[in-house]
Amino acid sequence: MHETTKEAPLGGLWSGGVAPLGTSSKKLGMWLFIVSDTLTFSAILLAYSYLRLANPDWPRPFAFYPAIIKSTGMTLVLLASSLTMVFAVAAAHRNDRKTAAKWLWATALGGAIFVVLHMTEWIEMFHEGYTPWSSPEGVPLFGATFFGITGLHMLHVTLGVLYLAFIAVGFGRGKFTADDVEVSGLYWHFVDLVWMFVFPMIYLMSIHLR
């Protein structure tokens, strides 16, 4: 549009400006945040993996029923909220603001259900004597890694629910663009993706032996 001698036209592959690499700068910014957050979770999950395998007496507090069935249900809730998010982004790109806002609310609701289920599980574990600094088996590292990793993930989900609610209200009122919805979707799918590692590595590795 406004071509100056110093700036290359917008939209080119290497021209930077508002669309570096042909992607909107907001979207690329979210992607770069996701990369840095991936490395945070990778570091704590790697540290956990080492501790888990180096310790033959690692606690196994989760019975297949009800604990694992419940956390599988939580996984499916989060996975379902990713699907509703995809539909929200598709509706936003069709410029169907009402439908997009509805799907965004459905996504936020899924996230909220996940947090509530997770909190009830935490409370049950506190009652069984697991805290971030102790466990009945005398392996405090179990509590430290379990509450540390699931807590950091739950913080991401909670912030994500607030982020989605903010976008749902704004987009419904005609404020944001479809690109903003897509950027919030990137964040939400990432939260889902992290759980796809946390659930098997933490829960399925600590199932009570029959």
Binding site: G11, A19, L21, L46, T75, S82
Partner: protein
């Protein structure tokens, strides 16, 4: 050349049928993981299998739900190799050093 480029405006992002198919695959892989938990494999083997399956699931989410397949390939080149490189560096240095600490501890214990 339009000011909007090829970025967000009007790119095809797959059909509801495709998204549902991806969702069913993700749910099925989760079921396989839970089955591994049910039969209880040896911990190191189990952790390896679970991480491999999770990386597969992560790939599906990134490619289809996060639309990376529909972005320019240069975006994938920017994001994915650097992430894999950093994680590989973590694996190389982290496990090497932690192993060393473990061995030193054993030696002190033997004295």
């Amino acid at each position: 050349m339009s000011a909007h480029g090829n970025g967000s405006a009007g790119h095809q992002v797959g059909s509801p049928k495709l998204f549902l198919t991806v969702w069913i695959v993700l749910a099925l892989v989760t079921a396989i993981e839970v089955y591994f938990g049910y039969v209880q494999l040896q911990p190191a083997l189990m952790l390896t299998l679970l991480v491999v399956l999770s990386v597969f699931k992560a790939g599906l989410i990134v490619a289809y739900y996060m639309h990376l397949r529909y972005e320019r390939f240069s975006v994938t080149l920017l994001l994915i190799p650097s992430t894999i490189f950093c994680i590989m560096m973590m694996v190389l240095f982290f496990f090497h050093d932690s192993q060393r600490i473990l061995l030193l501890g054993t030696q002190n214990g033997l004295k």
